[in-house]
Amino acid sequence: MVLVAPRPLLRPAPPGDAPADAGTGAEVLALLRGDAAARPRFDPGLAGGLRAWLEDAAYDVVATRGEHAPPLFLGPRQLLGSHDELSGHDPGADDRLDPSRLVHTLLRQLVHTGEIHDPLGDALDALRAAGNEHDVRRIESLGPAARTALAETLARHARNLTALVPRFAPGWMPRTNDRVAIPLAGGRIVLHGMFDLVVGLPRPRTASLCALGLSTGGPWAVARRTLHYLSLLETLRSGTPPFRLALLESVSGRYGVEDVREEHLRAIASHLTAWLAQDPAAHGSPPHG
Protein backbone atom coordinates (compact mmCIF):
# COMPACT_ATOMS: atom_id res chain seq x y z
CA MET A 1 0.00 0.00 0.00
CA VAL A 2 1.30 3.41 -0.87
CA LEU A 3 -0.10 6.31 1.02
CA VAL A 4 0.79 9.91 0.62
CA ALA A 5 2.60 11.06 3.71
CA PRO A 6 2.87 14.81 3.70
CA ARG A 7 3.58 16.65 6.89
CA PRO A 8 1.83 15.39 9.96
CA LEU A 9 1.02 18.54 11.81
CA LEU A 10 0.43 18.93 15.48
CA ARG A 11 0.22 22.41 16.79
CA PRO A 12 1.54 22.68 20.33
CA ALA A 13 -0.97 23.21 23.08
CA PRO A 14 -0.69 26.64 24.63
CA PRO A 15 0.10 26.78 28.34
CA GLY A 16 -2.90 27.19 30.59
CA ASP A 17 -6.31 27.70 29.10
CA ALA A 18 -5.61 30.57 26.76
CA PRO A 19 -6.31 29.53 23.18
CA ALA A 20 -3.81 32.10 21.95
CA ASP A 21 -2.24 29.70 19.53
CA ALA A 22 -5.46 28.09 18.42
CA GLY A 23 -5.85 27.04 14.83
CA THR A 24 -8.39 28.15 12.31
CA GLY A 25 -10.88 26.35 10.14
CA ALA A 26 -9.11 27.61 7.05
CA GLU A 27 -5.86 25.98 8.15
CA VAL A 28 -7.60 22.70 8.91
CA LEU A 29 -9.41 22.78 5.59
CA ALA A 30 -6.21 23.47 3.64
CA LEU A 31 -4.47 20.56 5.33
CA LEU A 32 -7.38 18.21 4.76
CA ARG A 33 -7.59 19.17 1.13
CA GLY A 34 -3.85 18.74 0.59
CA ASP A 35 -2.87 17.61 -2.85
CA ALA A 36 -6.11 16.65 -4.51
CA ALA A 37 -4.25 14.85 -7.30
CA ALA A 38 -2.56 12.47 -4.90
CA ARG A 39 -5.47 10.53 -3.45
CA PRO A 40 -3.90 7.22 -2.48
CA ARG A 41 -4.84 3.87 -3.93
CA PHE A 42 -3.70 0.87 -2.01
CA ASP A 43 -3.56 -2.86 -1.69
CA PRO A 44 -7.10 -4.23 -1.99
CA GLY A 45 -5.98 -7.21 0.08
CA LEU A 46 -5.21 -5.10 3.14
CA ALA A 47 -8.73 -5.16 4.57
CA GLY A 48 -8.99 -8.92 4.14
CA GLY A 49 -5.67 -9.47 5.86
CA LEU A 50 -6.59 -7.28 8.81
CA ARG A 51 -9.96 -8.96 9.12
CA ALA A 52 -8.41 -12.43 9.10
CA TRP A 53 -6.03 -11.39 11.85
CA LEU A 54 -8.86 -10.08 14.02
CA GLU A 55 -11.15 -13.01 13.25
CA ASP A 56 -8.51 -15.43 14.54
CA ALA A 57 -8.30 -13.53 17.82
CA ALA A 58 -12.07 -13.23 18.05
CA TYR A 59 -12.65 -16.96 17.57
CA ASP A 60 -10.17 -17.67 20.37
CA VAL A 61 -12.28 -15.48 22.65
CA VAL A 62 -15.47 -17.23 21.56
CA ALA A 63 -13.87 -20.59 22.26
CA THR A 64 -13.11 -19.40 25.80
CA ARG A 65 -16.44 -17.72 26.49
CA GLY A 66 -18.56 -20.42 24.92
CA GLU A 67 -20.64 -20.51 21.76
CA HIS A 68 -23.78 -19.36 23.50
CA ALA A 69 -22.39 -16.43 25.42
CA PRO A 70 -24.12 -13.15 24.53
CA PRO A 71 -22.40 -10.98 21.92
CA LEU A 72 -19.53 -8.90 23.19
CA PHE A 73 -19.78 -5.24 22.13
CA LEU A 74 -16.43 -3.49 22.32
CA GLY A 75 -15.82 0.20 21.72
CA PRO A 76 -12.96 2.63 22.27
CA ARG A 77 -13.82 3.00 25.93
CA GLN A 78 -13.04 -0.64 26.66
CA LEU A 79 -10.36 -1.18 24.07
CA LEU A 80 -8.41 2.08 24.32
CA GLY A 81 -9.50 3.69 27.56
CA SER A 82 -11.17 6.54 25.71
CA HIS A 83 -13.29 8.75 27.96
CA ASP A 84 -14.51 11.03 25.24
CA GLU A 85 -17.79 10.82 23.43
CA LEU A 86 -15.68 10.52 20.29
CA SER A 87 -16.51 6.87 20.60
CA GLY A 88 -20.23 7.49 20.68
CA HIS A 89 -22.69 6.15 23.19
CA ASP A 90 -21.24 3.41 25.27
CA PRO A 91 -23.77 1.23 27.08
CA GLY A 92 -21.16 0.46 29.70
CA ALA A 93 -20.49 4.08 30.53
CA ASP A 94 -21.47 5.46 33.88
CA ASP A 95 -24.33 7.89 34.26
CA ARG A 96 -22.43 11.04 35.21
CA LEU A 97 -23.19 14.30 33.47
CA ASP A 98 -20.63 14.57 30.72
CA PRO A 99 -20.07 18.00 29.12
CA SER A 100 -18.45 16.12 26.26
CA ARG A 101 -21.87 15.01 25.05
CA LEU A 102 -23.03 18.61 24.97
CA VAL A 103 -19.94 19.75 23.09
CA HIS A 104 -20.54 17.07 20.52
CA THR A 105 -24.07 18.36 19.91
CA LEU A 106 -22.55 21.79 19.31
CA LEU A 107 -20.15 20.34 16.74
CA ARG A 108 -23.08 18.83 14.85
CA GLN A 109 -24.93 22.12 14.92
CA LEU A 110 -21.89 24.00 13.69
CA VAL A 111 -21.36 21.61 10.81
CA HIS A 112 -24.96 21.78 9.70
CA THR A 113 -25.83 25.43 10.33
CA GLY A 114 -22.45 27.15 10.58
CA GLU A 115 -23.26 28.91 13.85
CA ILE A 116 -23.85 28.52 17.56
CA HIS A 117 -25.89 31.21 19.28
CA ASP A 118 -26.30 30.13 22.88
CA PRO A 119 -24.06 27.12 23.63
CA LEU A 120 -25.90 25.77 26.67
CA GLY A 121 -29.37 26.57 25.35
CA ASP A 122 -28.60 25.13 21.94
CA ALA A 123 -27.10 21.97 23.43
CA LEU A 124 -30.17 21.47 25.61
CA ASP A 125 -32.48 21.92 22.62
CA ALA A 126 -30.45 19.35 20.69
CA LEU A 127 -30.68 16.88 23.57
CA ARG A 128 -34.45 17.41 23.72
CA ALA A 129 -34.77 16.73 19.99
CA ALA A 130 -32.72 13.60 20.50
CA GLY A 131 -35.19 12.44 23.13
CA ASN A 132 -32.58 12.67 25.85
CA GLU A 133 -34.88 14.14 28.48
CA HIS A 134 -32.93 12.53 31.30
CA ASP A 135 -29.85 14.65 30.67
CA VAL A 136 -31.95 17.75 30.05
CA ARG A 137 -33.65 17.39 33.43
CA ARG A 138 -30.34 16.84 35.18
CA ILE A 139 -28.84 19.99 33.70
CA GLU A 140 -31.93 22.06 34.35
CA SER A 141 -31.92 20.98 37.97
CA LEU A 142 -28.38 22.26 38.54
CA GLY A 143 -27.93 25.09 40.98
CA PRO A 144 -27.21 28.57 39.62
CA ALA A 145 -23.46 28.37 40.26
CA ALA A 146 -23.07 24.96 38.64
CA ARG A 147 -25.22 25.98 35.71
CA THR A 148 -23.20 29.15 35.18
CA ALA A 149 -19.98 27.16 35.32
CA LEU A 150 -21.34 24.69 32.77
CA ALA A 151 -22.45 27.52 30.51
CA GLU A 152 -18.99 29.11 30.69
CA THR A 153 -17.29 25.81 29.96
CA LEU A 154 -19.50 25.23 26.94
CA ALA A 155 -18.97 28.80 25.74
CA ARG A 156 -15.22 28.25 25.73
CA HIS A 157 -15.57 25.01 23.75
CA ALA A 158 -17.98 26.71 21.36
CA ARG A 159 -15.58 29.61 20.74
CA ASN A 160 -12.77 27.23 19.88
CA LEU A 161 -15.00 25.06 17.72
CA THR A 162 -16.32 28.06 15.84
CA ALA A 163 -12.77 29.10 15.04
CA LEU A 164 -11.47 25.61 14.33
CA VAL A 165 -14.14 23.73 12.41
CA PRO A 166 -14.02 24.33 8.66
CA ARG A 167 -17.27 25.37 7.01
CA PHE A 168 -17.61 22.55 4.52
CA ALA A 169 -19.52 23.18 1.33
CA PRO A 170 -22.49 20.78 0.99
CA GLY A 171 -20.67 19.12 -1.91
CA TRP A 172 -18.12 17.75 0.56
CA MET A 173 -20.99 15.64 1.94
CA PRO A 174 -20.26 16.39 5.60
CA ARG A 175 -22.01 13.94 7.92
CA THR A 176 -21.76 13.62 11.66
CA ASN A 177 -22.02 10.68 14.04
CA ASP A 178 -21.28 8.08 11.39
CA ARG A 179 -21.49 4.86 13.35
CA VAL A 180 -19.38 1.84 12.41
CA ALA A 181 -19.95 -1.66 13.79
CA ILE A 182 -17.89 -4.60 12.61
CA PRO A 183 -19.05 -8.07 13.60
CA LEU A 184 -16.39 -10.71 14.11
CA ALA A 185 -16.74 -14.41 14.75
CA GLY A 186 -20.19 -14.50 13.19
CA GLY A 187 -21.41 -11.54 15.22
CA ARG A 188 -20.35 -12.88 18.63
CA ILE A 189 -17.92 -10.01 18.98
CA VAL A 190 -18.76 -6.56 17.63
CA LEU A 191 -16.20 -3.77 17.35
CA HIS A 192 -17.97 -0.44 17.24
CA GLY A 193 -17.31 3.26 17.26
CA MET A 194 -18.48 6.51 15.78
CA PHE A 195 -16.84 9.10 13.56
CA ASP A 196 -17.70 12.56 14.77
CA LEU A 197 -17.46 13.98 11.27
CA VAL A 198 -16.69 12.50 7.87
CA VAL A 199 -16.33 14.37 4.60
CA GLY A 200 -15.79 13.19 1.05
CA LEU A 201 -17.31 10.76 -1.40
CA PRO A 202 -16.44 7.09 -0.97
CA ARG A 203 -14.74 5.64 -4.05
CA PRO A 204 -14.02 1.95 -4.62
CA ARG A 205 -10.39 0.98 -3.98
CA THR A 206 -9.36 4.58 -3.33
CA ALA A 207 -9.01 6.17 0.07
CA SER A 208 -11.16 9.23 -0.48
CA LEU A 209 -12.64 10.20 2.88
CA CYS A 210 -11.40 12.55 5.57
CA ALA A 211 -12.44 11.94 9.15
CA LEU A 212 -12.47 14.54 11.89
CA GLY A 213 -12.53 13.66 15.54
CA LEU A 214 -13.44 15.91 18.42
CA SER A 215 -11.54 15.65 21.69
CA THR A 216 -13.08 17.62 24.50
CA GLY A 217 -10.16 17.36 26.86
CA GLY A 218 -9.05 13.76 27.32
CA PRO A 219 -5.48 12.65 26.62
CA TRP A 220 -4.46 13.61 23.09
CA ALA A 221 -2.74 10.29 22.49
CA VAL A 222 -5.89 8.32 23.35
CA ALA A 223 -8.04 10.50 21.09
CA ARG A 224 -5.55 10.02 18.26
CA ARG A 225 -5.52 6.26 18.74
CA THR A 226 -9.29 6.30 18.73
CA LEU A 227 -9.19 7.87 15.29
CA HIS A 228 -6.79 5.15 14.16
CA TYR A 229 -9.18 2.57 15.60
CA LEU A 230 -12.07 4.09 13.66
CA SER A 231 -9.92 4.10 10.53
CA LEU A 232 -9.38 0.39 11.01
CA LEU A 233 -13.13 -0.16 11.34
CA GLU A 234 -13.73 1.87 8.18
CA THR A 235 -11.16 -0.28 6.38
CA LEU A 236 -13.04 -3.38 7.45
CA ARG A 237 -16.38 -1.85 6.49
CA SER A 238 -15.61 -0.44 3.06
CA GLY A 239 -12.21 -1.87 2.13
CA THR A 240 -10.39 1.45 2.38
CA PRO A 241 -9.51 3.70 5.31
CA PRO A 242 -10.02 7.45 5.35
CA PHE A 243 -6.92 8.94 3.77
CA ARG A 244 -6.54 11.82 6.19
CA LEU A 245 -7.51 12.48 9.80
CA ALA A 246 -7.96 15.65 11.78
CA LEU A 247 -8.22 15.78 15.53
CA LEU A 248 -9.74 18.92 16.97
CA GLU A 249 -9.38 19.68 20.66
CA SER A 250 -12.17 22.00 21.66
CA VAL A 251 -10.91 22.88 25.12
CA SER A 252 -7.66 24.35 23.84
CA GLY A 253 -8.23 25.03 20.17
CA ARG A 254 -5.27 22.95 19.06
CA TYR A 255 -5.49 20.45 16.28
CA GLY A 256 -3.53 17.88 14.33
CA VAL A 257 -3.85 16.54 10.81
CA GLU A 258 -2.18 13.40 9.57
CA ASP A 259 -2.45 10.80 6.84
CA VAL A 260 -3.64 7.32 7.63
CA ARG A 261 -0.76 4.93 7.14
CA GLU A 262 -0.70 1.20 6.95
CA GLU A 263 1.35 1.06 10.14
CA HIS A 264 -1.41 2.89 12.03
CA LEU A 265 -3.87 0.19 11.03
CA ARG A 266 -1.48 -2.63 11.79
CA ALA A 267 -0.60 -1.15 15.17
CA ILE A 268 -4.19 -0.80 16.23
CA ALA A 269 -5.07 -4.27 14.93
CA SER A 270 -2.13 -5.64 16.92
CA HIS A 271 -3.41 -3.85 20.01
CA LEU A 272 -6.88 -5.32 19.53
CA THR A 273 -5.62 -8.86 19.11
CA ALA A 274 -3.49 -8.46 22.25
CA TRP A 275 -6.51 -7.08 24.11
CA LEU A 276 -8.65 -10.00 22.99
CA ALA A 277 -5.95 -12.47 24.03
CA GLN A 278 -5.77 -11.14 27.56
CA ASP A 279 -7.40 -12.73 30.61
CA PRO A 280 -10.78 -14.09 29.46
CA ALA A 281 -12.37 -12.76 32.65
CA ALA A 282 -11.92 -9.27 31.27
CA HIS A 283 -14.25 -10.15 28.40
CA GLY A 284 -17.18 -10.99 30.62
CA SER A 285 -18.22 -14.34 31.96
CA PRO A 286 -20.23 -16.81 29.94
CA PRO A 287 -23.86 -16.84 31.05
CA HIS A 288 -23.79 -20.36 32.43
CA GLY A 289 -20.31 -20.39 33.87
Binding site: V111, D122, A126, R175
Partner: protein, 268 residues
Amino acid sequence: MDSRLMDALVEPVPAVDAVAWRFALEGAKTKLAGLAVRRAGATRFRITDHEVRTALTTESDDPGRGEPFAWTARTARRSIGVAAVRLLAGRAARSPLEAVRARLAESSRWVGEGSSSATQLDRWVDGLTPAGRAAVGAEAVTWATRLWCALDWSSFSSPPEIGRDHWWDSPHSALLALRGRADVRTDHAHLVVLSGPRRGSVRAELALVTLVESLRLRGDGGPGRVVGWWPDSGHLVWVEPEPAALTLGAEAVELALGGAGASLRSAA
Protein backbone atom coordinates in the same frame (compact mmCIF):
# COMPACT_ATOMS: atom_id res chain seq x y z
CA MET B 1 -20.62 3.18 -4.10
CA ASP B 2 -20.91 -0.25 -2.52
CA SER B 3 -20.32 -2.74 -5.34
CA ARG B 4 -21.55 -5.73 -3.35
CA LEU B 5 -24.78 -3.95 -2.58
CA MET B 6 -25.22 -2.91 -6.20
CA ASP B 7 -24.61 -6.47 -7.35
CA ALA B 8 -27.31 -7.71 -4.99
CA LEU B 9 -29.74 -5.15 -6.37
CA VAL B 10 -29.14 -5.65 -10.09
CA GLU B 11 -28.25 -9.32 -10.50
CA PRO B 12 -31.12 -11.40 -11.90
CA VAL B 13 -33.10 -13.39 -9.39
CA PRO B 14 -32.93 -17.17 -9.69
CA ALA B 15 -35.70 -18.94 -11.56
CA VAL B 16 -38.50 -20.27 -9.38
CA ASP B 17 -40.62 -23.35 -9.93
CA ALA B 18 -43.99 -21.84 -10.83
CA VAL B 19 -46.02 -24.68 -9.36
CA ALA B 20 -44.19 -24.61 -6.06
CA TRP B 21 -44.53 -20.84 -5.96
CA ARG B 22 -48.29 -20.91 -6.54
CA PHE B 23 -48.67 -23.62 -3.93
CA ALA B 24 -46.74 -21.61 -1.35
CA LEU B 25 -48.66 -18.44 -2.19
CA GLU B 26 -52.00 -20.21 -1.80
CA GLY B 27 -50.79 -21.63 1.48
CA ALA B 28 -49.84 -18.18 2.71
CA LYS B 29 -53.20 -16.75 1.65
CA THR B 30 -55.03 -19.53 3.44
CA LYS B 31 -53.04 -18.95 6.60
CA LEU B 32 -53.68 -15.21 6.48
CA ALA B 33 -57.40 -15.78 5.85
CA GLY B 34 -57.53 -18.02 8.90
CA LEU B 35 -55.76 -15.42 10.99
CA ALA B 36 -58.15 -12.71 9.83
CA VAL B 37 -61.22 -14.79 10.64
CA ARG B 38 -59.82 -15.77 14.03
CA ARG B 39 -59.21 -12.12 14.88
CA ALA B 40 -62.58 -10.87 13.63
CA GLY B 41 -64.05 -8.36 16.04
CA ALA B 42 -60.68 -7.45 17.51
CA THR B 43 -59.18 -4.03 17.16
CA ARG B 44 -57.34 -3.15 13.99
CA PHE B 45 -54.04 -4.94 13.67
CA ARG B 46 -51.30 -3.93 11.30
CA ILE B 47 -48.22 -6.06 10.96
CA THR B 48 -44.98 -4.33 10.10
CA ASP B 49 -41.34 -5.29 10.32
CA HIS B 50 -41.40 -3.80 13.81
CA GLU B 51 -44.04 -6.27 15.01
CA VAL B 52 -42.13 -9.18 13.46
CA ARG B 53 -38.89 -8.08 15.11
CA THR B 54 -40.60 -7.58 18.45
CA ALA B 55 -42.23 -11.00 18.29
CA LEU B 56 -38.96 -12.72 17.51
CA THR B 57 -36.53 -10.95 19.80
CA THR B 58 -36.08 -10.47 23.49
CA GLU B 59 -35.51 -7.27 25.42
CA SER B 60 -31.79 -7.99 25.55
CA ASP B 61 -31.68 -8.42 21.75
CA ASP B 62 -33.56 -5.20 21.11
CA PRO B 63 -33.27 -2.76 24.03
CA GLY B 64 -36.02 -0.18 24.28
CA ARG B 65 -38.40 -2.12 22.07
CA GLY B 66 -41.22 -1.76 24.57
CA GLU B 67 -40.98 2.00 24.84
CA PRO B 68 -43.85 4.01 23.38
CA PHE B 69 -43.16 5.73 20.09
CA ALA B 70 -42.09 9.35 20.14
CA TRP B 71 -40.57 11.52 17.47
CA THR B 72 -36.88 12.09 18.07
CA ALA B 73 -33.95 12.86 15.81
CA ARG B 74 -33.39 9.13 15.55
CA THR B 75 -36.97 8.05 14.82
CA ALA B 76 -37.38 10.88 12.29
CA ARG B 77 -34.18 10.26 10.36
CA ARG B 78 -35.54 7.65 7.98
CA SER B 79 -38.66 9.63 7.02
CA ILE B 80 -36.67 12.79 6.41
CA GLY B 81 -33.77 10.86 4.91
CA VAL B 82 -35.78 9.07 2.22
CA ALA B 83 -37.49 12.32 1.29
CA ALA B 84 -34.04 13.87 0.91
CA VAL B 85 -32.78 11.00 -1.24
CA ARG B 86 -35.88 11.38 -3.41
CA LEU B 87 -34.98 15.04 -3.96
CA LEU B 88 -31.42 14.05 -4.84
CA ALA B 89 -32.53 11.37 -7.29
CA GLY B 90 -34.89 13.86 -8.91
CA ARG B 91 -32.07 16.42 -9.15
CA ALA B 92 -34.01 18.83 -6.99
CA ALA B 93 -31.05 19.04 -4.61
CA ARG B 94 -27.32 18.69 -5.14
CA SER B 95 -26.25 17.26 -1.80
CA PRO B 96 -27.82 15.46 1.16
CA LEU B 97 -27.34 18.56 3.30
CA GLU B 98 -29.27 20.73 0.84
CA ALA B 99 -31.91 18.05 0.42
CA VAL B 100 -32.52 17.68 4.15
CA ARG B 101 -32.69 21.43 4.60
CA ALA B 102 -35.26 21.60 1.80
CA ARG B 103 -37.32 18.84 3.39
CA LEU B 104 -37.27 20.52 6.81
CA ALA B 105 -38.28 23.82 5.24
CA GLU B 106 -41.12 22.01 3.53
CA SER B 107 -42.40 20.85 6.91
CA SER B 108 -42.64 24.42 8.15
CA ARG B 109 -44.24 25.61 4.93
CA TRP B 110 -46.90 22.90 4.99
CA VAL B 111 -47.70 23.51 8.64
CA GLY B 112 -47.73 27.27 8.14
CA GLU B 113 -50.08 27.02 5.16
CA GLY B 114 -52.31 24.49 6.87
CA SER B 115 -51.63 22.03 4.05
CA SER B 116 -53.29 18.65 4.15
CA SER B 117 -49.88 17.20 3.32
CA ALA B 118 -48.60 18.12 6.78
CA THR B 119 -48.11 15.06 8.94
CA GLN B 120 -47.51 14.58 12.64
CA LEU B 121 -43.78 14.57 11.83
CA ASP B 122 -44.04 17.92 10.04
CA ARG B 123 -45.79 19.46 13.01
CA TRP B 124 -43.14 18.08 15.38
CA VAL B 125 -40.31 19.44 13.21
CA ASP B 126 -42.04 22.80 12.90
CA GLY B 127 -42.26 23.08 16.67
CA LEU B 128 -38.53 22.62 17.22
CA THR B 129 -36.07 25.41 17.96
CA PRO B 130 -33.34 26.04 15.35
CA ALA B 131 -30.88 24.05 17.46
CA GLY B 132 -33.31 21.16 17.81
CA ARG B 133 -33.97 21.26 14.11
CA ALA B 134 -30.22 21.19 13.44
CA ALA B 135 -29.93 18.03 15.53
CA VAL B 136 -32.75 16.38 13.59
CA GLY B 137 -31.26 17.51 10.30
CA ALA B 138 -27.82 16.20 11.22
CA GLU B 139 -29.19 12.75 11.93
CA ALA B 140 -31.11 12.69 8.65
CA VAL B 141 -28.14 13.97 6.65
CA THR B 142 -26.00 11.09 7.86
CA TRP B 143 -28.71 8.56 7.05
CA ALA B 144 -29.33 10.03 3.60
CA THR B 145 -25.64 10.42 2.73
CA ARG B 146 -24.91 6.80 3.47
CA LEU B 147 -27.73 5.59 1.27
CA TRP B 148 -27.06 8.13 -1.49
CA CYS B 149 -23.35 7.27 -1.66
CA ALA B 150 -23.87 3.50 -1.49
CA LEU B 151 -25.72 3.18 -4.80
CA ASP B 152 -24.82 3.88 -8.41
CA TRP B 153 -28.05 5.63 -9.21
CA SER B 154 -27.31 6.00 -12.90
CA SER B 155 -27.02 2.27 -13.43
CA PHE B 156 -30.68 1.42 -12.85
CA SER B 157 -32.65 0.81 -16.02
CA SER B 158 -35.58 2.85 -14.71
CA PRO B 159 -35.79 5.36 -11.85
CA PRO B 160 -36.05 3.52 -8.53
CA GLU B 161 -38.98 4.09 -6.23
CA ILE B 162 -37.68 5.66 -3.04
CA GLY B 163 -39.13 5.33 0.42
CA ARG B 164 -42.61 4.11 -0.44
CA ASP B 165 -44.06 1.53 1.90
CA HIS B 166 -46.40 -0.99 0.34
CA TRP B 167 -49.50 -2.23 2.14
CA TRP B 168 -51.62 -5.29 1.64
CA ASP B 169 -55.14 -5.22 3.05
CA SER B 170 -56.74 -8.54 3.81
CA PRO B 171 -59.79 -9.31 1.66
CA HIS B 172 -61.16 -11.27 4.62
CA SER B 173 -61.03 -8.59 7.25
CA ALA B 174 -60.82 -4.84 7.02
CA LEU B 175 -58.89 -4.99 10.27
CA LEU B 176 -55.84 -6.89 9.01
CA ALA B 177 -53.14 -5.16 7.00
CA LEU B 178 -49.50 -5.97 6.33
CA ARG B 179 -46.81 -3.44 5.56
CA GLY B 180 -43.73 -4.10 3.45
CA ARG B 181 -41.13 -1.45 4.15
CA ALA B 182 -38.39 -0.88 1.61
CA ASP B 183 -36.28 2.22 1.17
CA VAL B 184 -35.40 1.75 -2.50
CA ARG B 185 -37.29 -0.39 -4.98
CA THR B 186 -35.81 -1.26 -8.36
CA ASP B 187 -37.13 -3.46 -11.17
CA HIS B 188 -35.65 -6.56 -9.58
CA ALA B 189 -35.10 -5.83 -5.93
CA HIS B 190 -36.20 -4.06 -2.77
CA LEU B 191 -33.55 -2.50 -0.54
CA VAL B 192 -34.22 -2.27 3.19
CA VAL B 193 -31.81 -0.13 5.22
CA LEU B 194 -31.32 -1.85 8.55
CA SER B 195 -30.12 -0.56 11.89
CA GLY B 196 -29.33 -2.08 15.24
CA PRO B 197 -27.43 -5.29 15.79
CA ARG B 198 -27.56 -8.30 13.53
CA ARG B 199 -30.42 -10.44 14.75
CA GLY B 200 -32.03 -13.75 14.10
CA SER B 201 -35.31 -12.14 13.13
CA VAL B 202 -33.98 -10.28 10.12
CA ARG B 203 -34.82 -12.91 7.51
CA ALA B 204 -38.41 -13.00 8.77
CA GLU B 205 -38.53 -9.18 8.61
CA LEU B 206 -37.39 -9.28 4.98
CA ALA B 207 -39.68 -12.20 4.17
CA LEU B 208 -42.60 -9.98 5.20
CA VAL B 209 -41.62 -7.65 2.34
CA THR B 210 -41.57 -10.62 -0.07
CA LEU B 211 -44.98 -11.72 1.19
CA VAL B 212 -46.55 -8.28 0.80
CA GLU B 213 -45.16 -7.86 -2.71
CA SER B 214 -46.38 -11.31 -3.70
CA LEU B 215 -49.88 -10.70 -2.35
CA ARG B 216 -50.07 -7.39 -4.20
CA LEU B 217 -48.87 -8.76 -7.54
CA ARG B 218 -51.31 -8.94 -10.41
CA GLY B 219 -50.51 -11.25 -13.29
CA ASP B 220 -47.14 -12.82 -13.97
CA GLY B 221 -43.81 -11.83 -12.57
CA GLY B 222 -42.11 -12.28 -9.25
CA PRO B 223 -41.74 -9.95 -6.33
CA GLY B 224 -37.97 -9.56 -6.66
CA ARG B 225 -35.15 -10.04 -4.23
CA VAL B 226 -35.32 -8.31 -0.84
CA VAL B 227 -31.94 -7.03 0.26
CA GLY B 228 -31.22 -5.92 3.81
CA TRP B 229 -28.21 -3.67 4.29
CA TRP B 230 -26.58 -2.44 7.47
CA PRO B 231 -24.73 0.80 6.69
CA ASP B 232 -22.90 0.50 10.02
CA SER B 233 -21.07 -2.60 8.89
CA GLY B 234 -21.74 -2.90 5.17
CA HIS B 235 -23.18 -6.34 5.92
CA LEU B 236 -25.84 -7.69 3.54
CA VAL B 237 -28.54 -10.28 3.97
CA TRP B 238 -31.12 -11.07 1.33
CA VAL B 239 -34.20 -13.15 0.78
CA GLU B 240 -34.76 -14.57 -2.69
CA PRO B 241 -38.31 -14.80 -4.01
CA GLU B 242 -38.65 -18.49 -3.22
CA PRO B 243 -41.62 -20.44 -1.91
CA ALA B 244 -39.87 -20.79 1.43
CA ALA B 245 -39.83 -17.00 1.81
CA LEU B 246 -43.62 -16.88 1.53
CA THR B 247 -43.98 -19.57 4.17
CA LEU B 248 -41.54 -17.74 6.43
CA GLY B 249 -43.37 -14.45 5.94
CA ALA B 250 -46.77 -15.96 6.73
CA GLU B 251 -45.40 -17.69 9.82
CA ALA B 252 -43.89 -14.40 10.95
CA VAL B 253 -47.26 -12.70 10.64
CA GLU B 254 -48.87 -15.51 12.60
CA LEU B 255 -46.27 -15.20 15.32
CA ALA B 256 -46.62 -11.42 15.46
CA LEU B 257 -50.35 -11.89 15.97
CA GLY B 258 -49.64 -14.10 18.94
CA GLY B 259 -50.38 -17.34 17.15
CA ALA B 260 -48.32 -20.47 16.84
CA GLY B 261 -45.15 -20.02 14.86
CA ALA B 262 -43.26 -21.81 17.58
CA SER B 263 -40.87 -23.31 15.06
CA LEU B 264 -40.09 -19.83 13.81
CA ARG B 265 -39.53 -18.51 17.32
CA SER B 266 -37.11 -21.28 18.17
CA ALA B 267 -35.33 -20.82 14.84
CA ALA B 268 -34.80 -17.15 15.62
